[in-house]
Symmetry: C2
Subunit: 451 residues, 2 copies
């Protein structure tokens, strides 16, 4: 029985301690027990120096697999530590689609060496794979399909498979059926092959009502198709229906996980490929951009506050209370924004239902705006012994939460129409809106009614 | 060729317009083309009234499947619209594990009726499934395994399968091999069954080095196992090795997607089951809790500012500039926090490497703190013609960004140790820290050096 998490943390600790002590016996013992994907997780959880030392202990038999499982940024740090012949050895048995994924991370010299070391067929296949756009079905597909013709009997198919013996690729649950020109006709599930009479022809038992994936389809759309149609694998065809390969669900799981990760990381202005232990200076540089953008919006808010110096000079309570208005707007807005970002990612929000959604969010904003405005008004009045301050903050809070609800829907929809990722820029734009409107409403009302 | 997203949005618009126009012909035509999971997405993207009208048009053949695909909250709204016999009909052909998932959402009367309408075997199975904890392997597993004994020949297995004919469940890529007591011995991949000589015994070709899942394992850990071991299905066994069922990757995809969704939604204080079109009042109520918690932290920050009224009264520039210090700390902290939350979810952060990570984040904070402190100091000095204000805000900014980096690692680790979900509470606690330290450092330094 396997229980990974328990042991993943345990192994992590053991490896960390062994690396500190230079205890290679323990390191090799732990590594021996691990799958490539687990070694990848382990490498990612180590700072650069320790990572390099562990990487040197990883067996050459699995290092190609490990490279496929780490995030892009970590991958470059690992490849830097390999010499050319190690890289060529690690990639020699790789499937073309896996090779294509790695290829663009390789140092140019190594890439050229590798192309030279390949046979003509491999080279052609790799070039074909690289010709497909990144994040397209062409890049995701494997070319290891087993195809049969429709006019043969199941018996013949079985004889053919026995003759091929061990060479049926992993996770083949169905054979592809094609005509003499390679045009896709349907699939023959292995479950049918073994349960139907062997005298029947493939044509009699094939499943022709199969979802195919067009080679140019975006990875994310392929993932949606797999999820909504409960697929385990799908044939990939070109515009003429020619069978090019198949996409299997293990590769789709990665697409789904990366897609969700991306929304989470992008909302904080991070790259989803970010290495947990990236060197300090490049990390600082990348984050600096995000901080700089946010600084501009902070200065914009400060400038708005600066317009109301007269009010702030006369009533210090305004300075004390003003962050409350901005902060509540920011929180309410980010709830609406997150809901909208998820809805957009799932394809559930379109022009036709966005008005409904807007009306719902306005309703929620009004209820919570009024509720919390009352609470804040009472506390502010008691604190500063001035009912006018309570009234002003209450009205400002309602205005800002209303603005937050509207902006939380309008901003992601607008960004999407402009072709900008709402998860990446939505929160900055939203904060700008709720800060500016919050400070303006509160200090503006105070200028009119208090001075 | 299928291209879902293109058409998902297109279908959404068509359905929305058809619902407005009461054009049932169009509605039925679109529904006819859709898989249950797509109908589920469509229902979720509609406000309650329209959802009910669409739900009435969904064919009884698929409504059980649709119920399984919608989020919990939407499911309850749909079940409310069904009468008892519709519910019983929809669930009559369901797999036990699916039934268990639905069962707890059913009105009590219907649940009792259903139990009565079942035969003894179904009832026992359902009760067994319900006895497993939610989010455990026992709830995820399907009981539709096909088992064979190790001492028979492949020929016999094939004859057995031909006799069972169509009853091999979907996505069976391997048969389970058990001994006479039902103890799990290994699997017989269909690919081997069809490619090996039929005179061999099952024992000769079975794969015994198989990852099994213990029935009590948490769903999330099962998902990690599937991902790190590249599994498509896994046998589920009890503590004695008795085969209980199998878990298939389609169900794991849902676990992975929900897990990632959860982090995203929780960081905004939302429930991952939140219905996009939940009725306004209950939604407002749920979000009110989150807003209330944030209001407390906002008042705490206001209270801190209030301690420095003397400084604010004398130098109005402080009120203008103070949100910049708090906001930059908040942004820097949320970057570190997001990275830590993802690292924790992937199991990559433990006690042994958290010090390394902390040192790295402190380094990044210092670099960006100093960089942006200089920028802010120059702008503030020019704006208010006072080099002391520039100096004070620079030092305060460095202090707050340093605190943000430390808190961004320490808070999620601390919350996790306390058994609290860091994604849910991390951002509130972090904002409290960066607000309080930001205002205190800036206004405190100003009090000392300006007054």
């Amino acid at each position: 029985m396997t229980d990974t998490t328990d042991t993943l943390e345990g192994r992590l600790s053991r490896i960390h301690e062994a690396l500190v002590d230079d205890d290679f016996a323990v390191i090799d013992e732990v590594l021996d027990d691990l799958e490539p994907a687990e070694i990848a997780l382990l490498l990612e959880s180590l700072p650069l120096a320790a990572r390099t030392r562990l990487w040197e202990r990883v067996s050459q038999d699995v290092d190609g697999e490990v490279l496929l499982h780490v995030h892009d940024e970590v991958r470059s740090t690992l490849i830097e530590d390999m010499d050319d012949h190690e890289i060529v050895a690690a990639t020699s048995n790789m499937d073309t689609s896996d090779l294509a994924e790695l290829f663009e991370d390789l140092p140019q010299q190594v890439a050229e060496d590798m192309l030279r070391s390949m046979d003509e067929l491999q080279r052609t296949r790799l070039k074909e794979a690289l010709a497909f756009e990144e994040d397209s079905a062409g890049r995701l597909m494997r070319t290891d399909t087993v195809s049969v013709r429709a006019d043969v009997t199941l018996e013949t198919v079985q004889r053919f498979l026995r003759w091929k013996n061990q060479s049926i690729p992993d996770n083949t649950d169905a054979l592809m059926v094609v005509d003499r020109d390679g045009i896709f006709l349907g699939v023959l599930p292995l479950a049918r092959l073994v349960s139907q009479s062997s005298e029947l022809a493939v044509a009699d038992v094939l499943e022709s009502d199969i979802d195919t994936v067009s080679v140019a389809m975006k990875s994310w759309d392929v993932a949606t198709l797999f999820q909504t149609h409960d697929l385990v694998s799908a044939p990939v065809v070109d515009e003429n229906g020619l069978l090019l390969g198949r996409i299997v669900i293990e590769d789709i799981v990665d697409v789904i996980r990366e897609g969700s990760d991306q929304a989470l990381m992008n909302m904080a202005g991070l790259d989803e490929e970010e290495d947990l232990f990236a060197p300090i200076v490049p990390s600082a540089k990348r984050r600096a951009v995000w901080l700089g953008i946010n600084l501009m919006t902070a200065f914009l808010a400060a400038w708005v506050i600066g317009r109301f110096e007269a009010a702030l000079e006369q009533v210090v309570a305004l300075a004390v209370l003003m962050p409350i208005v901005a902060s509540m707007g920011g929180i309410a807005g980010s709830q609406t924004l997150t809901l909208a970002i998820r809805g957009l990612a799932l394809g559930q929000i379109s022009r036709t239902n966005s008005n409904w959604l807007m009306r719902k969010e306005i309703g929620i904003s009004l209820i919570n705006g009024v509720l919390w405005a009352l609470v804040v008004a009472v506390i502010a009045t008691l604190w500063f012994q001035d009912v006018r301050i309570g009234g002003i903050i209450a009205v400002a809070l309602i205005i800002n939460m209303l603005a937050a609800g509207i902006a939380g829907i309008a901003i992601p929809l607008g960004l999407k129409r402009l072709g900008i990722d709402p998860a990446l820029s939505g929160s900055v734009v939203l904060t700008t809106v709720t800060d500016v409107i919050g400070f303006m409403a509160f200090l503006g009302l105070a200028t009119v009614f208090l001075l």
